[in-house]
């Protein structure tokens, strides 16, 4: 498993595929192999936060995980779904069609063991509200790149408040232009400037017992 971990962290895609095939042939459990990928991605996330790793590495490691997941899918029992860490709804707010940050958040949350509902881009407050009512997530992630996103995030959160959907729901806002003043303005619980921060926030909320 150590060789696989190193291959992923060193961005050696071919070696990671070979290691995965070898481990499977040696009788290692598919779940254990997948967990190694997830652990590698978590370490890459930490390196990203430290400024030692960047977008190409996040994307490539995500692709490596995707390839491995496809390969390992036939060997993984369905009961694994029950072990998800929590449910998260993620989308880009209305009037904003940027999906880059949102897609990486979805990928990393999924890799970190969360069940994620991706509601897409240019999503209205009403659609977010319906998704929260139907999917019953512990966390809602509102993504946005543009300054127009501030007002949309605020409006979405206000609608959720009016519908009394906030009591068991944490809301994080994300995008390169988010700040604490925008968090306060929108009424969100937390903000993040990159995809790794979104995973970190969900993990922290779980560890602190703030979401169950």
């Amino acid at each position: 498993m150590k060789d696989l971990m190193n291959a992923v962290i060193q961005m050696d895609e071919q070696s990671a595929i070979k290691q995965t095939e070898k481990l499977l042939a040696d009788g290692k459990s598919a779940m254990e192999i997948l967990d190694t990928y997830r652990e590698a991605l978590s370490q890459i996330g930490t390196l990203f936060e430290r400024g030692e790793c960047f977008l190409p590495e996040l994307i490539l490691s995500g692709e490596m995980l995707k390839t491995a997941s496809e390969k390992l899918k036939p060997f993984i029992q369905k009961s694994v779904d029950a072990e998800k860490r929590g449910r998260v709804v993620v989308g880009t707010v209305q009037g904003d069609v940027h999906d880059i940050g949102k897609d990486i958040v979805v990928l990393l949350l999924d890799a970190s063991g969360y069940e994620v509902m991706d509601v897409g881009v240019d999503v209205s407050a009403e659609t977010f509200t319906t998704a929260v009512q139907e999917f019953m997530p512990q966390v809602l992630g509102l993504s946005g790149l543009l300054s127009s996103a501030y007002g949309q995030m605020k409006g979405t959160i206000e609608l959720l408040n009016r519908k009394n959907l906030r009591s068991d729901l944490k809301i994080m806002i994300g995008g390169g232009q988010m700040s604490d003043s925008i968090r306060i303005y929108t009424g969100a619980d937390a903000f993040g400037n990159n995809a790794v921060a979104a995973v970190r926030l969900c993990d922290d909320w779980i560890e602190e017992g703030q979401i169950i």
């Binding site: 960047f54 490539l60 543009l146 300054s147 127009s148 700040s179 925008i182 303005y185």
Partner: protein
């Protein structure tokens, strides 16, 4: 002095104020020059859709704003595209307010947005590199504009038309294949003419009341051209590992393309300042090593080419540019006007003092959600940080956002008037 002469004098004085800062000469006061465009329209109660679809309303609002805000340079209105033209061309790469096609339509108050997509697939890079012009014509353009999808009907490379026999056979055959295209382009041509006429009148109107605009021509950096319009973000980031040589070759092709474009524009217009929005070079998007390998060499040569032609590059450094300041130190002093989004001001002073001015960076969050007092404090601090006259003030990122509170924008302007004299 007549009104006309007075305004002409003001026009040149405003340009001088900004360009003195760029040349690292202390002006009479801190200039405000903005990259904003839509704010000039929306702050007069005209929404973004109207700005794109009603040129008369757009012009009127823009001119009114210019007089009201009294900035040293207004944003360039050229980036307010014509909605009817975009509808006719059906450019799938963009979403905009009021688009006829629902899949491209944004709410009326949103500005135009680019949709990140992979137009050139990873396994097509060799084909593109073999013949970029032919690939662009027969593959890329039809993918980017469904109105031009007929171009994909051209059955054979354009190179095959380089002899009289093929001219006689293939060209007439193509005219049959491309009949619809001719009709659409004719309509598009009319819309373009209408849009350009509105833009030219607006620029002349602004000039007649004494207001210059920041730049008249915008271009992409070679890397961003590839990442934004060919390979998409994901494709480009993966190329850095999976096919780095092909990525470099693509960037090289577009370095040559950008240079050709600039040289052609020099022939057509009187270019003095050129805007260059930079998308993928900021911190987080790539490592320093990757920046040095894939991004900077071509960008630096682009800057130097413009400077050689006596044109001032106006790069918009989107995102956090702090780690890249050391590269900017390689540029000749007093020749570039770099507009910042997020940057460590102290590091800018330490690394770039005496090389390039600072342009920015009143945060959009402050202009949208802050109080007038907070804006005033921020602007004063900014002015205090640059006592040597190497400061131009604007909002961060792309300037003043459309959602800004008008009183906050006025507070920014008034503080510069009161506190920014040298």
């Amino acid at each position: 002095m007549t009104e006309h002469l007075k305004n002409e004098k003001l026009y040149h004085a405003r340009i001088k104020r900004v360009m003195d800062v760029v040349a690292l000469r202390k002006p009479d006061r801190v200039p405000i020059a903005t990259m904003s465009d839509y704010f000039f329209v929306t702050s007069q109660g005209v929404n973004c859709k109207e700005a794109m679809y009603d040129p008369d309303k757009m012009k009127k609002a823009y001119t009114k704003s210019a007089g009201e805000y009294n900035l040293d340079m207004c944003g360039t209105p050229s980036s307010i595209f014509s909605g009817p033209l975009m509808d006719v061309m059906d450019v799938s790469a963009f979403s905009w307010p009021g688009a006829t096609k629902e899949s491209n339509r944004l709410p009326n108050n949103c500005t135009i947005q680019y949709q990140d997509k992979e137009y050139l697939m990873s396994d097509e890079c060799d084909d593109f590199l073999k013949d970029p012009t032919d690939f662009t014509l027969r593959k890329l353009i039809p993918r980017m504009s469904s109105s031009l999808s007929d171009l994909s009907n051209i059955p054979i490379s354009i190179r095959t038309m380089s002899m009289p026999y093929t001219i006689l056979r293939l060209l007439p055959m193509m005219s049959l294949l491309l009949q619809d295209l001719g009709t659409k382009l004719k309509i598009a041509g009319g819309e373009l003419e209408r849009a350009q006429s509105a833009q030219n009148t607006l620029k002349a109107d602004l000039k007649s009341i004494g207001y210059p605009t920041t730049y008249h021509f915008g271009i992409m950096s070679p890397f961003d051209w590839v990442a934004d319009f060919l390979r998409g973000m994901k494709g480009t980031m993966l190329d850095m590992y999976r096919q780095p040589d092909k990525l470099k070759a693509l960037v090289d092709v577009f370095e040559q393309t950008v240079t050709e474009l600039i040289d052609a524009a020099i022939e057509m217009y009187q270019l003095d300042r050129v805007g260059i929005p930079l998308h993928w070079g900021a911190a987080g998007f790539m490592s320093d090593q990757q920046y040095a390998e894939f991004y900077w060499p071509q960008l630096k040569r682009l800057f130097l080419h413009l400077i050689e032609k006596n044109i001032t590059p106006m790069p918009l450094y989107e995102g956090n540019y702090t780690p890249r300041l050391k590269y900017l130190a390689e540029l000749p002093p007093g020749k570039i006007a770099g507009h910042y989004d997020t940057v460590d001001r102290q590091q800018h002073k330490d690394i770039l003092s005496g090389i390039t001015c600072f342009w920015g960076d009143v945060p959009k969050a402050l202009l949208i959600t802050g109080t007038t007092e907070q804006v005033k404090d921020y602007v004063k601090e900014l002015i205090d940080d640059f006592p040597d006259g190497d400061l131009i003030i604007d909002g961060d990122a792309s300037g003043i956002p459309v959602e800004s509170k008008k009183e906050n924008v006025m507070a920014m302007i008034e503080t510069v008037d009161e506190y920014g004299k040298y």
